[in-house]
Symmetry: C2
Subunit: 252 residues, 2 copies
């Protein structure tokens, strides 16, 4: 069970994939906030490709849930509801428990070293920008998933982790990354020991506490803006077209 052939369907060095990666990163580092507009033209211009390609990339990202695509409208960075955020974390917990269950006691020394050095990097970035810390923390989980050698699992864990990352920028308050790092270390050590139960419990607790720390409250009223609040009520109206709102402060 040393090494399975790695890639197959995903992410070659297509221009499309390049743009996807760039946007994904920009989104999880919060350079692009939820709701940010992503016009095909501008994207194409910025990346030096035609609209066709930019459009295709947006399609992929929409499939991953990072981007919202509405017919005839400018694509925007996704703005998951609080409930969706919670759902994403629930799914993530199950998937990552599966990851560590498969990994417990099966890691090579080299892999453990790789994990440790990643956490060291997380540690080193503690003083820097929040965005980088978040990205590194996310990448730790993806790194774990990759060690299962299961492309499907990698894909799902990555996707759901990115989504969670996205929600952090919406609902999170300034957080201390410190304990998360310690939890990462604890997980590595339990993995090395091969204690399956323990590591699953650790991962569960880790993600659950991240979720609880991040997703502060059901936010009954302080949703992002009017549109979000009214969205459910719009179901009765013909399409998803809201009635027509008086001018109101919108974020850029």
């Amino acid at each position: 069970m040393a090494a399975r052939p790695t890639s197959k369907t995903s992410e070659s060095s297509d221009k499309v994939s390049v743009i996807c990666r760039a946007l994904r990163r920009a989104i999880i580092e919060q350079a692009l906030e939820p709701g940010a507009k992503l016009p095909e033209d501008s994207l194409g211009e910025r990346f030096g490709v035609s609209r066709t390609i930019a459009r295709h990339a947006l399609g992929q990202l929409a499939a991953e849930g990072l981007v919202e695509l509405r017919r005839n409208r400018i694509a925007v960075v996704a703005t998951p509801s609080w409930q969706e955020a919670r759902d994403a974390f629930d799914i993530r917990i199950e998937l990552e428990r599966l990851v560590v269950r498969q990994l417990a006691g099966k890691l090579t020394k080299a892999q453990i070293a790789e994990l440790n050095s990643h956490v060291d990097a997380e540690d080193g970035a503690r003083g820097g920008a929040d965005a980088v810390s978040i990205r590194l923390a996310t990448e730790f989980h993806i790194l774990l998933a990759q060690m299962t050698n299961s492309p499907i699992l990698v894909r799902y864990v990555s996707e759901v982790a990115y989504r969670c990352c996205l929600t952090l920028s919406l609902y999170s308050r300034p957080h201390s990354t410190e304990c998360a790092i310690n939890e990462h270390r604890a997980i590595i050590s339990a993995l090395a020991k091969g204690d399956e139960r323990k590591v699953m419990e650790l991962m569960h607790h880790h993600l659950d506490s991240v979720a609880n720390r991040a997703l502060v409250a059901p936010t009954p009223q302080r949703g992002r803006d009017l549109l979000d609040i009214l969205a459910p009520y719009a179901d009765d109206v013909a399409s998803d077209r809201v009635v027509k709102l008086p001018k109101v402060a919108r974020r850029g």
Copy 2:
């Protein structure tokens, strides 16, 4: 918790989405076998759209893992390895346990009726084509997922279920759908009773037995064709380009 707004990012009535749905269905009903070629031109012609659209659809399906896309080559219906099939089922088990856990004891009478009538339909189709039985069985699981009102969960369960469906056509022997139907009924009844533990156990057992019945053996030799058998050996060669095979019977 009556009804959350349904769609958002996914599957409007784009031409692209239409094609995706059509192909997805064709694939899971095995009208398109794994390995079948999907040239953009032909697709476009058949669905009365341009290559651009067909291409975009293929991109989406590739993101779902139903189609394999290799640069400059004709897209083909995915041919998952046995290991990937097993991985898919493992993930599916976790996801669907999550589904029924969320659903236990929370279904309305109408929903239970809907589930029952679906299983009746499965029952009715027992005499007919295998393809239809398989599709209906898969749709039962997707129906369950939809009742969670969690779009993310719906998406992942659907995707992974389709993938599993695909693997069935590769590695399955003629199977009896009968017991699967009974298991579906048992799940409904446990859901209605609200017995969370029981229903999770039932679902686990159900999927596990489907997987074990389907994924017969590591299939050391009887892979689909020469190319598959040789694929691992091709890793040493420069790219993924196999050495050059003597002419040999290929399907198609």
